[in-house]
Amino acid sequence: MDVQASNLTTSLLDRESHLEARNIHVWFKERHVLSDVSLQFPANSVTALIGPSGCGKSTFLRTLNRMHELIPGAGLAGTIYLDNEDIYAPGVDPVSIRLRVGMVFQKPNPFPTMTIKGNVLAGLRLSNRRTRDENELVESCLNRASIWNEVKDRLDAPAGSLSGGQQQRLCIARSLALAPDILLMDEPCSALDPGSTRRIEETIRELSADMTVVIVTHNMQQAQRVSDQTAFFLAEEGQPGHVVEFGNTDNLFSAPNDPRTEDYVNGRFG
């Protein structure tokens, strides 16, 4: 138990994980929905995935922590490297990947049978790990998800009693409690008011000091504010989704190479 606790703290200190997707293709049943996606996520970077609805951003995100394979009919080609190790190699336990690559879902999904505090600690319980000081962990995670002040007096209330936006921030706190190396966030701010959105964005910037973040967003300003690099996904009429342009966020927004990127970031379609 102590060994595990100290593992947790050391992993808080030395976390230099990078992620790379190479030639990823995705099928659902016979339908090809993502084609040849190759992206690199250097350690401590924040990457924004943008693109119109239905172009495969969430799908791509799920391939990065092996949640994709849980969908019936899912298929995959290509390789994902986490610190140069293929996460789909035979013998790799998907559970160990998901512990290192955390995820915040598009829809808030707190555990309704648990309290607010229980939700924050749920990741530890579910993976059968312990921490030295639960209260401190709960406070710091809730703080970083900018919800501590709203819930500090009712940590033992059921999670279902929170508003939708509060639930989403609770889910962010829940992922942070596991101290993942990589954090995948699927439109984490889509249910949030401007104030909470700003605080979540600050949190993302802070998190990038010790983890690698990939965030899906429909908000161009948000992509520009939080990310170092941006990938623009697009699925044209009847074609699978693919990456049109990938690069430094400032370049992609100020001087896009592709006219479709320019149209999209300037709100002319999608």
């Binding site: 949640m67 559970v95 555990f111 309704p112 049978t113």
Partner: protein, 351 residues
């Protein structure tokens, strides 16, 4: 800044949509009183049986009178609503009366013979001439608890395990198993009894005993428990499963820490409905057990009485105190079923 004071809700007067004018109220009263009076009159004059009078005389008259009332108060648009209301209310009342009279006769006859000692005494020394002050169905109540309890202990873990297989795994045999469980829910109870008879009694493995009855009941409970538990587990949102797995939970821990707690009250309801399905079963018990006037606490050997077989044996015996004892036992059985359903309701209401 001025603070707003919250006002107490006044008695009445804050539901303006419920206010009715005097003339409308009078029309409503007349529209319900007149058909009832006419039906009553015709029924007295022609001596038609009650249910027929209700269906053929009251229902048409009530429909016409509600059309007139609706047209007078709400215009043409009210007529369709009025017909629907009358038919639905009539059907509900009719069914309630039918079910109510079953309940009434059991309670009415049962109360005549039941007494505290009837609930705990057994049937030893009871003959056709014994007064109702002696003897009871306590041994049969105990027998029912033993037989049904044993069946539950076996059927619940098995049934829930199968439901988990159907919902939580990608097993290859899910659809045949699901189909089989559904088909089994139509299994006639006498067939289940005969199956146990053929396997264990005709082959000489066992004499009639409580556990054989339990085995037959297990076959009857399983489909109910499997199907209900499957529905309950399916209701747990897929989002919760994903959330648990994305937090690095092995499937087993995700099930016990997230999915099972979310489905707990529903699973208990499934179990109680499985119980309710079999507590009153008679046919398989008649095939697999033999009644015993004495108390038998061992479901694994010897003759054992249960409430259904106790009722059956006294009903077929054909003497007055025997009939009375059967009604009293029926009342006990009905009370047990009522308690099971009350428990189900309480559990599904608490959230």
């Amino acid at each position: 800044m001025a603070t707003l004071e919250s006002l107490p809700r006044p008695n009445g007067g804050v539901t303006p949509w419920k206010v009715r004018s005097r003339s409308v109220s009078i029309i409503i009263v007349l529209a319900s009183a007149i058909p009832a009076a006419i039906t009553f009159g015709i029924q007295k004059a022609l001596q038609v049986p009650g249910p027929i009078a209700l269906l053929l005389i009251f229902l048409p008259i009530q429909l016409v009178s509600s059309w007139i009332a609706a047209a007078a108060t709400r215009g043409r648009r009210g007529i369709a609503d009025a017909s629907l209301n009358v038919v639905v209310l009539f059907a509900t009342t009719f069914v309630s009366i039918m079910l109510g009279s079953v309940l009434y006769s059991v309670i009415n006859w049962g109360l005549k013979a039941i007494s505290p000692h009837f609930i705990y005494q057994n049937n030893v020394y009871v003959t056709t001439t014994t007064s109702l002050d002696y003897g009871g169905a306590g041994h049969a109540l105990l027998g029912s608890f033993l037989v049904v309890g044993l069946a539950t202990v076996v059927a619940v873990p098995l049934g829930i395990a199968v439901a988990v297989y159907l919902t939580e795994t990608r097993g290859r045999f899910r659809s045949p198993v699901r189909f089989f469980a559904q088909a089994m829910s139509g299994l006639p109870s006498i067939v289940s009894g005969l199956f146990i008879y053929a396997v264990f009694m005709a082959s000489g493995i066992s004499r009639p005993a409580g556990w054989l009855a339990s085995a037959a009941l297990v076959l009857l409970m399983l489909p109910t428990i499997i199907r209900m538990s499957e529905e309950v587990l399916k209701l747990v949102p897929g989002d919760l499963r994903s959330a648990a797995l994305a937090l690095g939970a092995p499937q087993r821990r995700a099930f016990f820490l997230v999915i099972f707690p979310a489905a707990k009250t529903g699973l208990i309801t499934a179990i109680l409905l499985g119980l309710a399905r079999v507590v009153g079963e008679t046919a398989p018990l008649l095939v697999t057990t033999r009644v015993n006037a004495n108390t038998n606490v061992n479901p694994f050997s010897g003759d054992i009485s249960t409430l259904p077989t106790y009722i059956f044996s006294y009903l077929t015996a054909g003497f007055d105190t025997g009939n009375a004892r059967a009604w009293a036992a029926a009342l006990m059985l009905l009370s047990v079923v009522a308690m099971i359903f009350a428990a189900t309701r309480m559990l599904s209401n608490q959230k």
